[in-house]
Amino acid sequence: MDAPAITTEGLTRTFGQLVAVKDVNLRVASGQFFGFLGPNGAGKSTTIKMLTGLLAPSAGRIEILGLDLLQSSVEVKRQIGVVPEGMALFGRLTGAEYLNFVGRMYGLDSQTAARRTAELLEFMQLDDQSKKLVTDYSHGMQKKLALAAAVIHGPRILFLDEPFEGVDAIASGTLKAMLQRMITRGATIFLTSHVLEIVERLCSHVAIIHRGELVAQGSLEELRAGVAAQAAAPPQNSGTVGLAVAPGEKLTLEEIFLRIVGGSRLAEQELSWLG
């Protein structure tokens, strides 16, 4: 049996007194389209940064494709692709030069890098902008370029931090199709997004992080079942509303998410002075 694509044990990250990520034990199987969700400041970006080597964990272990990230960082990095929060683009290269550069950094020979660059630019509909400096690209175009760079070497795992933010509907469709194709070919995708509809449509498995702790993990069906079981139990917090799940009701990911992270608010918490 294949090693899991991603495994973390006791993954913890503190910033001074603040525990941003606490004892997270993740397990993402190979070939999964995995959604990593959480409210703002829950620890999503901190976790993805640790998984990709952009941030050192304070404690815990990370294994990617069976390799320890700390011990075999270069080998791991060779097999993953990343679109980090800031997109990691070099503004003063042209789109073609940037992709060529990334390809070479991942060890592709110059001919292969050039060929894949051309293909990716065309696929991302950036071929007519290939000679423009990246700094002159719009946000959506930069996002597409960052995604193209993340896949140029054919990674086995793709880490995407908010990949669809600022991307138009047409490009978004193109990207989703590409990601699905990668999954069918055996790649693993680890994605964070605030757009829960996208996660629900694309991801087979989801984990939810809240206040630095992993509060749910599993397939969508498993999460639904968990929420239904919790709703059936006697209420713990009489102030919250809407926890009940009607028999046969199929909760959306948004509803599951809100129930797990406690998104409902008390009426008296509203800002009385506002409007």
Binding site: G53, L54, L55, A56, V74, E75, V76, K77, R78, V82, P84, G86, M87, A88, L89, F90, G91, R92, L93, A96, E97, N100, F101, V102, G103, R104, M105, Y106, G107, L108, D109, S110, A113, A114, R116, A118, E119, L120, L121, E122, F123, M124, Q125, L126, D127, D128, S130, L133, D136, Y137, S138, G140, M141, A149, D168, I170, G173, T174, A177, R181
Partner: protein, 559 residues
Amino acid sequence: MAGLSLSAQARTQFAAIARVRWQILFNSLQTMRGRLEMVSRLIVAFWFAGGGLGGAAGLAVASWYFFSHDQGEWLALILWIIFLFWQLFPVVATAFTETFDSSNLLRFPLTYRSYFMVRLVYGSLDPSTALGSLWLSGIWVGITIANKRLLIPTGLALLVFALLNIVLARMIFAWAERWLAQRKTREIMGIVFFLIIISFQFIGPITGRLLGRRHPNVTQFGRIIVPIERALPPGVAASALVNFSRSDAIGGLTSLGVLCVYAIAFLLLLNMRIRAQYRGENLSEAPAAMGRPRGVLGGTKGAIPVRAAWNLPFISGPVAAIFEKETRYLSRSGPMLFTLIMPLVILLIFRVSPSKSGAGNLLGNASNLAFPIGAAYALLMLTNLIYNNFGAEGVGVQFLFVAPVRFREIVRAKNLVHATILALEMLLVWIAASIMYQPPALEYTAATIAAVLFAAPVNMAVGNLLSIYTPKKFDFGTFGRQRAATTTAFASLGVQACVIALGGATFVVGYSLHRLWISTALLLVLAAIAFICYNLVLNRIDRIALNHRETLIAELSKA
């Protein structure tokens, strides 16, 4: 036009901005890097205070002398120097000054008057204003001691001159920001700016040469230049002071009026720019149009031609990729590229500068020194790059941490680019020295190469460390933000001082023994030690970079 009185709300906003600036400063002290930066700034502040107070005292004495001996016209020269310093220093010495970006205040409900005042007042809190004001105060004190009757009229004239300088400096900044906002205009501006700076360097030597020869055209040139000088703000201010000192109230008031007209004109031009910003003018790069929609998903053919990346002999793909990227970055930065021709310019300046005797050039019989001087200058010009290796990466620095390449390879590639540039520069300097003076003697050439072989690894080793410990983002879009951290600037000065002292000592030894090969040998020994140190740093750079990746990424990813 903005007035000087502010409403209660505007005063609250002013106080809030002052408070937030204080909080930012206070919060920056929470990190070691921030504390080091503060120490560096305090040292700079002491320097400035010394220069300001010393200059003020000197100018007080000079002004007293001129006005006691009815030679007030000489004050024009001093006012011109102060004027040029006030306007040029903020541009030249960006490493030692802090610019305040107030454009992001526009989202708050600031009235135009408040916004204008914020731009004017907070923008003026810089060393050039402090020093300029101190020096003008010194002049005022000197004149008043010479003639107490001049207390008020000269005080008024100098105050208007100071306000004019403040407004003009803000105006230049505001318009420069406008022109620097777009990449193409920014690059043109950069080249124009450096041409001006280089042209300034030639004024002294050419004037000296012309005066030395008593050229007949000099008098003619003076006849043209003096009226122009008198019509410009420093000349007008000097006229006002002289007229007041000679009890010519009408002449003095007329000059003061002209000075006010200048100040108002600058204020109007500043107002024009700030009003455009206030109305929501977007100074950022214009985003390109989106790619044409095709309605086709996938199915690529790779039809567009893409040039293959560089292949460099004996160099791995990733190192070649970094080498190519660095070269492309450099070739797209006009100002940076332009600094690289400075060593040749310096040789030319030395060539056209007359010697003390007025004949020949500045180097006189020591023309063999042209090559060492040019080579030293070439290394100095590279320090801005060497000591802030990652400054131009911006958010791209994240990629360097997710790429499957050891950090030492990345740093080595960057150093390789710098070493290549240095080698090319030295070759150019050697050729230029041969053409302008005479081919440098073999022993001088060898000693210079040995000195560079020593100095380059030392600078690179320290530069690599400081690039990680105290990084600073080069912001190509904002005026005055293409600099290293102040701590880095200080450290690099210290390293240069040590390198020059050691290298100089070896030269002195060889020169005094009339055997320059001794210097070469000593320098080669030092070069070997420096190279070992460089390698030791390089071997630890992976660990150091990983330990400091958060600071590095956070600093370079700043908006």
